[in-house]
Amino acid sequence: MSLAARPAGTRRGPRRQRRLRRGLATAGLLALPVVFLGWFFAWPVTAIVWQGLAPEGDLELGVLGRVITDASVRSVAWFTLWQAVASTVLTLLVAIPGAYTLSRQEFRGRGALQAAVTVPFVLPTVVVGSAFLALLGPRSPINAGLVAVLGDTAPTLDLRRTVTAILLAHVFFNYAVVVRTVGGLWSLLDPRLEEAARVLGASRWRAFREVTLPLLTPAIAASAAIVFLFTFTSFGVVLILGGPGRATIEVEIHRATTQLLDLPLASTLALLQLVAVLAALSVYGRLTRRAQVQQRLVASDTTRRRPRGRAERGLLVGNLVVIIGLVLSPLAVLVERSLVTADGYGWDNWRRLLTDDASTVLAVPAAEAVRNSLLFGVSATVVALVVGALAASAATLDRGRLTGLVDRALMVPLGTSAVTVGFGFLIALDRPLDLRGSPLLVPLAQALIATPFVVRTLLPVLRSIDRRLREAAAVLGASPLRVWREVDLPIVGRALLVAAGFSFAIAVGEFGATVFVARANLPTMPVAIFRLLGRPGVANFGQAMAMSTLLAALTAAALLAIDRLRVGQIGRF
C-alpha cells in the first residue's frame, strides 16, 4: 500500500541511478585499458599506416602501389602465405591423430606426456629456432647415427636454412595448439555416437568421417586458424632457420628497418600484414560460427580407454613415436648441445655463460641478460595482469554492446604481429612523451602482447561464476565485501595465477617486439641468444644452446606450474 502511494518518478529514480552507477563503474574500469591500448597499440599502428600511406607527410598512394607490385615483395608475400598453409596442413595431419591418443586412449604416463607436449607452445621462438638448428645441423645426432651405420661415406644431412626446417619447427611449435583444442573437444564427445554408427553398419573409417569428424570441425577450424595466424606471422623461427628467399613478411619488416633502413617499405609491409591478418580473423569468425553444433557432451574421464586391437595399438605406438621424435627430441638435443665442449662433454658453456664478465658478443655479461629478462618479465606480467583484469571485469559487468567491443578490441593485438608492435613503438613513441630510449618500452611491449592471453584466461572464469552463488552467500548473511572475498576471489584467484604464469612465460620469451625496442646494453635472453647465434664459433653456439636451455626451463616451469592449477585453458582456443 505504501508502494502504491509513492509517485511514479521516485520509483524509477533508483533504477536509473543504478544504471548510471553501473555505467560509471564500467567506464572507470575501462579507463586504464583504453589509455593503455590507445597509447601503446592504436597510436603506433596508426603511425605505421600513416607512414606507409604518406611517407613524406602527404597521402601518396603511389608508394603503396610501387611496393605491392614490387617482385621481391610479392615473392615474400607468396612465401609467407604458402609456408603458413603448408605448416597448418602438416600440423593438422600430425596432431589430429595425436589428439586422439592423448584424449581418448588410456596408457601409463598419459598425464605426463600431455603436459610435456604442451611445453613447446610456450617455448620462445628463438629457443625453437636454436633447438632445430642443433637437431638438423651437420653435427646433429641424426648425422652421428648415419655415420655410425654407413661409415665415413655417409652423406652429411644439413637441413639448416631450408623450408623443411621451418615447416618442422612450425609443426613442433603448434602441435600443442591442435592437441589441446581438438583433443579437448574429442575427450568430451559421446563415444556412443561413433559406436552407434558402427552398429548401424559403418566401417571404422566411415564412422570417423561421417560422425566424429563433423562434430570435431569447430575445434579443428579454430585450431587451424590459430596455427595459420601464428605461422603467417612467424618471426623468430624463420629469422633463425630461414635464409635468402625464405623470409616471411615479419622477417622482411625487421630487415627493412634494421638493415635497409627503408621505413616506408617496412610500413607498407606491416600494413599488408595487418590487412591479411584481419581478413584471416574474420574468415575464422565466420567459419566457427557456421560449424557450431549443439551437442550433449560427456565427462572426459569416461571416454578414455585402453587401446584394443591391432589398429588402436598401432595408432598409440605411432603417436608415441611422433611425440618423442618430433616434440621431445629437439628439446633433448638442445640440452645435449649445450653440454658439448671442444673435447667431449662438460659444463664449459654454462660456466662461461654465467661467470664471464664481458662476453665479446653481448657487450654485457650473459648473466645480466638473465637478470634483465626476469626483471622485464615480472614488470610486464604486473602490467598485463592489471590491464587484463580491469578489462575482463568491465566486460563481465557490462553485458551489452560494450562487452563484445572490448572482447574484440583486446584480441586484435593477438592477431597483430609482435614485430609490428615493436616497429610501431620505434616510429611512434616520440610523442607525447619520448619513450624511444627508455628501458620501459620492453616491458610495455611484452605486456601488450601478453594482455589478450590474460583476458582470454580470466573472462570465461569470471563469466562462469554463477550469480546464484553470490546470491546464496548474500542471503546467508555475507556483506558485499565478504561475498567478493569468499566467492569471487577463490574462484578468480586460481585463474589470476594461471594468467600470471602465462604472461610471464610470454614476456620472458618475447622476441619480435623486444628485438626492436631493447637497448644494446640491456639485452633480454632471447635477444642474447639471437646475437650469440649470429656469431661464428663453437663457443658462441654452445653458449646460445646453454642460454636456450635455461630459457626453455624457465618458460616450461611457468607452464607446468600453472598446468597443476588445472584452470586449464592454456593453448586452447
Binding site: D190, R192, L193, E195, V199, L200, G201, R206, E210, R296
Partner: protein, 376 residues
Amino acid sequence: MLALRGVTLAYDDTVVVEDLDLDAKDGEVLCILGPSGCGKSTLLRAIAGLEPLRAGTIHLDGRDLDGLRPDQRKVGLMFQEHALFPHRTVADNVGFGPRVHGMAPEAVRERVTGSLELVGLAGTEHRRVDQLSGGERQRVALARAVAPRPRLLMLDEPLGSLDRALQTRLLEELPEVFAELGTTVVYVTHDQDEALALADRVAVMRAGRIEQHDTPDRLWRTPRSAFVAGFLGLDQQLSVEVDADEVRSPLGTLPRAAVSEADGVVDRGDACAVLLPESIRLLSPSDAVPAGHLGVSGEVLRRRFRGDHLQISVRVDTSRIDGGPAGGVAGGAGPLTLQALALRDAAQPGGAARLAIDPGGVRLLEPEPAARDGDG
C-alpha cells in the same frame, strides 16, 4: 535365434559378466532385468561387438559372431540416451544405416519413411534432432535402429530418460512395434514394470550372472531367490524355519503342505518366505479368519492413498503372538510391518487391524544372506 554360451566379459581387470548362458528364441522379446552395474549393458555391447569376449561364444541364427566387427553383425542397438547424431536431420539419422549398407538413395528414402511411420513420426524427416522433444528423440532412435532391418534388435534402457507419463504411453506402443517388426528383441532395463509388461521372457541378472530366466507370470508366481523376488517388488519377506510338517514364522505356524515352494529349493532349516501381495487381506471387524489362513492383528501405522485402492501398513508385535516361535527364528523377534490392500477407508492410523494371510500365496526360498539382515 540368439545363443550365448559361457560368456565372460571384463573391463581391464574387473570381471563384469561371468560364464553366462542365455537364449532368445526367434521373434521373442527377451528382457534382461537387473540393477545398475550388474553387467546387462555390457552384455548388449558385447553382442553388438563393441566389447571383446574374455571367454565363451555368441551365435546369431547359428552363425558364430566371433571375429565379426560391429558393422558386420547386422544387429540393431538403441543406446541409452539415444546417441542421435546431433549434426544431422531426422532423415539423415534414420537413413544412416541403409545408406552405409549401400542402398540406393531412392530406397533409402523409402526405408526412412517406413521406419518413421512405424514409430509414429511420419513427416518429421527434415527436422533437426536438437529440435525434438525427449519422446520424439526416443522414437527417432528406435526408427534408426530398425531401419537397416537388423536380425536382432537390442534396446538399452530406452525409456530411462523419459518422464513417467511418456514412459507409460511408449510402454503401450512398443509391443505393437515389436510385433510388426517380428525380429528378436533383447530389451535391457532396471524397471520391473517395463520388463513384466513387454517381455515374453525375462532374465533377471545380478552381478554378472543370470539369476532366473522365465516368463513374467512364472517369475512372479515362483521367484527362485529372495533377490529375484525383491527385484520384482515382492519385498514382503520373512525369515522362517522349515521342517517336514510345518513352517514356523514370526507370525505363526503354517502347515507345510499348504505352502508352495520353488522346486526342491528348501528342504528343512532356515528359509525365506515371500508373501505375494494378494496373500495378505485386511479383515473387517466382523469377518472371521478364513479356514486355513493365518490370522494376525496389529496396529495401523499409516494409510497411503493409491488412487483406486489404499495401502495399509500394519505393525505386528510378533512377541505377543501365541504359538509363534518368535525367539527361535533369526530376525523374527520384535515388530514386523505388513502391507495390505484395502478398497475403503476401513482402518484409521492408530487403530487396530486384523489381517488374514493365505498360505497359498506364500513362497519358500533359499535364505538370502544379504536379504535376511534387512528383513523384518
